[in-house]
Symmetry: C2
Subunit: 363 residues, 2 copies
């Protein structure tokens, strides 16, 4: 993924044609766009785009404040994600936060100055301004730091649902997760701790391993181990002898890491797959299905939003916002100026899933 | 598994000691027994056992009529099954049918002459007589041929539950199964046909392949194919283009055969594993969990019985019995005299899961 990047000046292919309809108010915005699937470092261009800000009845104009670069965004641009843009040129970016600048006459529940996040993916957040239907966004508290607001709707919400929807977890219960140092993994650790649920966390052996373990424990992780430890039956049996068996296993890695977390599941336990970072399938033995009655499920935030009410989502957003404002839910965020988009994009490819690269859109 | 078998005469280690308590009525019975886990051809012995037939309040004496040799019995004897005998010497055999010969004074709902099958596994049916609690057996109609009665409680019941408990199947819906020529597979085909559910059936390429396919179609199979056809995307796409996607996939094989049936599942589809004939784990890609919301479950008849009411089971047994009596549910049964147990045991190891070896206990 390391390759030289065109300078921002060269890819700023300013579109200088006059607005189609000069009676309408316009604002000049900047947007990242692509015309075809491919390597993001090659197909993405930052372009000047004139935006028609004379909103219709049910529309709002949003000035974006911050937007993260997520793996799902990269995979969408590469054309290997479960959802594709409806047409080209397309603006990437599924998450972000903006401030409402104009409100259509028919819009209720939103006003100028509100902070909003997308109601679901696909809005195209990597731009300074956008016009959308009021229903496409959800308000968040203004006290919420914009970096956090911009990353609230996918990873923290995923962690929230993983802990809520697949097993009845009581204080003292145990869950096990792989890829535990991912952003979702770290959110799971913190949300579980707040509910008194114990976490067994599997991570890769890495540089600064001890520091990583220490940070995870500071966030509330009960047990952290690498995969070689988790593969050692004797060590694991000794370690787990005093704990209830995990009711829930979370998998964002696949391959052998999926098998390991399934292995320790309690009877009637559930493993939920919400990612596949290793790009390997999930291999599990037959016997726990038959004799231990385990279930394997999947989770995708996009689908959850599509199949649940706005109220249910708002409740979750409000709860998570409050936890962030109260400093009970932390995330490692690395912000970059939108004017240095290509540098930020390159940084997002660097190893270390736990820190999120966020674009500050007005810088 | 082919090896010379000791003659029956040599392994009939008649136990000739006097009954422990001579006041009690006894009957001399024959029972297959084993003292330790191992190769069934080596550890099993047919022995004479005196049975105390002076039943307690809640007990019944059963004269066995027929009992099948199932793969689960073999695996139990080998010590590789999910359930083991409580103590040794143990009598193998989880299924069978018998006739009630004596009834304890406190028993209601059972009378002399009733035909009964075990309420769950572990009763030890490979013997001519047994004494058990009345609640350990369930009545079946006397019109039910004993060969069928003896195999009713595992394979037909498994097929019944697989079609009833994991997906809401309406007439016209489609299911896909591997190992479709197994006895459960053939039961699934017939029960599905009776409900108007279409079946896609995957089998191994084999000698007499056309004959096998023909027989499966006679039983009601809509589509039968081998695994190489099912692995060919182009052929499969063409074949399946006119069908609704399968809501349910059934897996008794594992390995690649499990992946293939999962691949064609509809959104929200469920794959149920009820066996692992290939002795390979289940490998499935990550994406259908996330983007297609599939679920993987397991099924084990023994657990179902333990977690459901006697009434629910009786309803199923009655329905299936009626279908057999009405000749709407067929099975291939190969009967052997119990006096030729070792020969029958050897035959049960032969390839061709679809025919069941059943011991006639009074021959």
């Amino acid at each position: 993924m390391r390759k030289s990047i065109q300078s921002l000046a060269r890819i700023n292919n300013t579109l200088s044609f006059a607005p189609r309809n000069c009676f309408y108010a316009t604002v000049q915005s900047k947007a990242v766009r692509y015309e075809k699937f491919g390597n993001p470092l090659e197909v993405l261009k930052v372009e000047n785009v004139d935006i028609d800000t004379s909103v219709k009845n049910d529309e709002v104009v949003i000035k974006m404040l911050a937007a993260p670069i997520n793996p799902a965004d990269i995979n969408t641009i590469q054309g290997v994600y479960g959802k594709s843009p409806k047409s080209f040129p397309a603006v990437p970016g599924n998450e972000g936060v903006g401030i409402v600048e104009e409100v259509g006459s028919g819009v209720t529940g939103l006003k100028k100055g509100d902070h909003v996040i997308p109601s679901n993916g696909g809005l195209g957040t990597w731009r300074t301004h956008l016009v959308c239907k009021a229903e496409d966004v959800t308000t968040v508290p203004k006290e919420l730091p914009v970096e956090y607001a911009s990353i609230l709707s996918v990873n923290p919400c995923t962690a929230y649902r993983l802990l809520s929807d697949f097993a009845e977890l009581k204080p003292g219960d145990v869950i096990i997760q792989n890829g535990a140092n991912s952003m979702v993994g770290l959110m799971v650790i913190q949300l579980a701790k707040l509910r008194g649920i114990q976490t067994i966390n599997l991570i890769r052996q890495r540089q600064n391993h001890d520091l990583t373990v220490q940070r995870m424990k500071q966030l509330g992780a009960d047990i952290v181990m690498d995969y070689s430890f988790a593969s050692n039956n004797t060590k694991m049996s000794r370690l787990l002898s005093d704990l209830p068996k995990p009711k829930l296993a979370l998998n964002c890695v696949g391959g052998d890491a999926a098998r390991i977390v399934t292995k320790y599941l309690a009877e009637d336990g559930v493993m939920v797959t919400y990612g596949g970072m290793s790009r390997q399938g999930i291999t599990v033995p037959t016997s726990p299905f038959i004799f231990n009655n385990i279930t394997l499920k999947g989770f995708w935030m996009t689908r959850w939003v599509e199949t649940h009410s706005k109220e249910e989502r708002q409740k979750m957003i409000d709860e998570l916002s409050k936890l962030v404002i109260d400093k009970k839910l932390l995330a490692l965020v690395e912000t970059h100026k939108f004017s240095e988009f290509n540098y930020a994009l390159e940084k997002s490819f660097e190893d270390g899933q736990e820190r999120k690269v966020v674009l500050k859109m007005n810088e």
